[in-house]
C-alpha cells in the first residue's frame, strides 16, 4: 500500500468508528460529552505515559478509558450535587484537561507528546510508525489500533443493539424491565473514550468532536430508522475523511481541519436537502400541523 492509501484508510477508519458512536451520542443528547472526553483523554494518556514510561498503544487506550470513565463519573457526581449538567461538564473537563496540560509540560517534557499534537493530530506522520502483524505484514500502528477499535465498536453495537436503543429512547422503562442502564452508560462512555484515543493520532482531540457529532447529526435529519442512521452516519464519516484528505492536498493545508470542514459541508447540504427537515422541502411543502408534546 502506498503512503497516501494508508492515510486515507486511517482517516476512513476514524470517520467510520466516530460516525457509529456519534449516532448514540446524538440520540442520548450527550453530544457535549464527546467534547469533554476528547479533552480529558489527554490526561489519561499522560498518566499512562508516566506509569509505563512509554507511548504504547495499549497503555494509551487504558489511560484513555480511565479518563473517560472518570469524566463521566465526576460529571454525574457533580450533577447529583445539584450542579447543572452542562456546568458540571464544563467544570470537570476543563479541570482534567488543565491537569493534563500541566503534566505534559512539567513531567513528560522530553517525549513526543505535546499539546499541539494532542489537539490537532498529525495524520501525515501515521504511516511512519509501523508494526508487524502476522499474515498482513507491516501496518502503521495507529491504523492497526483504529481497526481494532472499530471491530470492538461494531461488536458492541450489534451485540447490544436493542439495549442501546431502549436505554437511549426510554431509560426509565429500560430500568423498570431490568436492563442495567448505568452499566450501559459507562460501557458507552468507555466506547467513546477508546474511539477518541484511537482517533487522537489522526485528527487530534478537537477535531475528533467534529467527526463524532456532525456526521451523526446530519444522518439524524435524513432518516426515521435507527439502522439507516447508523449506516448513513458511518458513510458520512468516511466521505468526510476521504474528501477532507483530497481538499487538504489540493489546498496544501491541514488534513484534520479539512476533514472537519467536510463534515460541516455534509451537514450544510443535509440542512438544505433533507426530505423531512430540509429548508428546501419546507419551502416546497406547506408546514405540517404537528402537535408538540
Amino acid at each position: 500500500m502506498t503512503y497516501t492509501m494508508w492515510i486515507i484508510l486511517t482517516a476512513s477508519l476514524v470517520g467510520l468508528s466516530c460516525g457509529l458512536i456519534g449516532v448514540y451520542l446524538i440520540l442520548k443528547k450527550q453530544a457535549m460529552m464527546a467534547d469533554a472526553i476528547s479533552h480529558t483523554v489527554l490526561l489519561g494518556i499522560v498518566l499512562a505515559y508516566m506509569v509505563t514510561q512509554q507511548l504504547s498503544g495499549t497503555a494509551m487506550l487504558v489511560g484513555g478509558i480511565f479518563a473517560g470513565i472518570l469524566t463521566a463519573f465526576l460529571v454525574q457526581s457533580l450533577n447529583n450535587l445539584k450542579v447543572q449538567h452542562d456546568a458540571s461538564l464544563g467544570i470537570v473537563f476543563t479541570t482534567l484537561f488543565a491537569i493534563g496540560v500541566i503534566l505534559i509540560s512539567t513531567s513528560v517534557g522530553n517525549v513526543h507528546l505535546d499539546v499541539q499534537h494532542a489537539l490537532m493530530g498529525e495524520i501525515t506522520f501515521v504511516p511512519f510508525t509501523t508494526m508487524d502483524i502476522p499474515l498482513i505484514g507491516s501496518v502503521p500502528k495507529a491504523t492497526a489500533i483504529l481497526a481494532l477499535v472499530l471491530i470492538v465498536v461494531i461488536f458492541f453495537i450489534i451485540a447490544f443493539y436493542k439495549e442501546w436503543k431502549i436505554t437511549s429512547f426510554d431509560p426509565a422503562l429500560a430500568a423498570s424491565i431490568g436492563i442495567p442502564v448505568i452499566f450501559f452508560h459507562y460501557l458507552f462512555m468507555t466506547l467513546v473514550s477508546v474511539t477518541t484515543v484511537a482517533s487522537f493520532d489522526a485528527v487530534g482531540a478537537i477535531l475528533v468532536v467534529a467527526m463524532l457529532i456532525t456526521p451523526a447529526a446530519a444522518a439524524y435529519l435524513w432518516t426515521d430508522k435507527l439502522i439507516l442512521m447508523l449506516f448513513l452516519s458511518g458513510g458520512f464519516g468516511i466521505i468526510s475523511a476521504v474528501a477532507g484528505y483530497w481538499v487538504a492536498t489540493w489546498l496544501n493545508t491541514s488534513i484534520s481541519g479539512s476533514m472537519a470542514l467536510m463534515t460541516g459541508c455534509i451537514f450544510f447540504i443535509t440542512f438544505l436537502l433533507s426530505p423531512k427537515h430540509g429548508l428546501i422541502s419546507r419551502w416546497v411543502r406547506p408546514a405540517e400541523v404537528r402537535e408538540e408534546a
Partner: protein, 254 residues
C-alpha cells in the same frame, strides 16, 4: 380471593433536598384500579418511581407479592409520562411497543417474529394498527399515549403503574384507555394510575389514594372520595364545588 399485591411501609424519599415522600404506607389488593391523586408536587410520580427502584428511597420497604422489586419486576409494567421521552427518536410505533418485550427476550437476541406479532396485537387492542409503521413524531399526543399503553399491554404484566396516562389526550383516546383499564381489571390485573382529574375519579377508579407527601386517605372510592379528604389533601388555598358526584377543584391562587 383478594390478596395484597403491593405493600409499602414507611417509604420516604427526597427530591433535590426536599423531602417529597414522608412515611408513606399503604396496601393494594389484587384486581383493583387505584387512582393516585394529589396537588402538583405531592410526590405522585416520585412515589411510583421510588416503588420501582427508579428513584432512591431514604427509608422504608416496598414488597410486591411479598418479594422485593428485583424478583417481581417481570410481572410489573410501567407507563412513564409521555413527556419523559424524545418523540423525535428514529423509530416507529411498532418498534416502541416491541421495546416492552426487551426484558423477556434476553441478551444478544433480537425480537423474533413472534415478539413483533405480540406487539402488533397490543397495538390493535389500542386501535393503532394502522399507525404501526408511522414514525413516532408524526403521531398526535393521544396516539403517542396509546402507543405507550400498547407497550405496557405487550409486557403482559400482572401489575401496572401508569403515570398520568390521561393527561392531555383527546376524548376518544381517554375512552380507549379506560376500556383497556377495565379489561385489565376484569382479567384480575392490578393497576395504579397517577391521575389529575378529580371529576372522573368516581367513574373510573374503584380505589383512590390521596397523596400529598404522605397518605391522607386511601380506600374504596365510595368510602374515601369525600369533599373532606379532598380539601385536606389539597390544602387550604383550594376551593371545591360539589355537584352530586362531580367535584370541581379550583386553586384560589389562579
Amino acid at each position: 380471593m383478594t390478596s395484597s399485591v403491593i405493600r409499602v411501609d414507611d417509604l420516604s424519599a427526597s427530591y433535590q433536598k426536599n423531602k417529597v415522600l414522608n412515611d408513606v404506607s399503604f396496601e393494594v389488593k389484587e384486581g383493583t384500579i387505584t387512582a393516585i391523586v394529589g396537588p402538583n408536587g405531592a410526590g405522585k410520580s416520585t412515589l411510583i418511581k421510588t416503588m420501582l427502584g427508579l428513584h432512591p428511597k431514604l427509608t422504608g420497604n416496598v414488597r410486591f407479592w411479598g418479594s422485593p422489586f428485583k424478583t417481581a419486576k417481570k410481572k410489573i409494567g410501567y407507563v412513564p409520562q409521555r413527556g419523559s421521552v424524545d418523540w423525535d427518536f428514529p423509530t416507529d410505533a411498532l418498534d416502541v411497543v416491541t421495546m416492552g418485550l426487551y426484558g423477556k427476550i434476553g441478551w444478544f437476541r433480537l425480537p423474533s417474529k413472534k415478539d413483533k406479532e405480540k406487539a402488533m396485537n397490543a397495538l390493535k387492542k389500542m386501535g393503532m394498527e394502522a399507525y404501526a409503521h408511522r414514525q413516532i413524531s408524526q403521531l398526535s399526543g393521544g396516539q403517542q399515549q396509546r402507543v405507550f399503553l400498547a407497550r405496557a399491554l405487550a409486557q403482559d404484566a400482572e401489575l401496572y403503574f401508569m403515570d398520568e396516562p390521561l393527561a392531555g389526550v383527546d376524548a376518544s383516546t381517554e375512552k380507549a384507555i379506560m376500556t383497556i383499564l377495565k379489561e385489565l381489571k376484569s382479567n384480575g390485573k392490578t393497576v395504579l394510575v397517577v391521575h389529575h382529574d378529580l371529576q372522573t375519579v368516581p367513574e373510573y377508579f374503584d380505589h383512590v389514594l390521596f397523596l400529598n407527601k404522605t397518605v391522607y386517605a386511601h380506600g374504596q372510592t365510595e368510602e374515601v372520595f369525600t369533599t373532606d379528604n379532598i380539601a385536606r389533601t389539597y390544602g387550604g388555598d383550594m376551593q371545591w364545588v360539589g355537584k352530586g358526584d362531580q367535584y370541581v377543584i379550583q386553586s384560589s391562587s389562579h
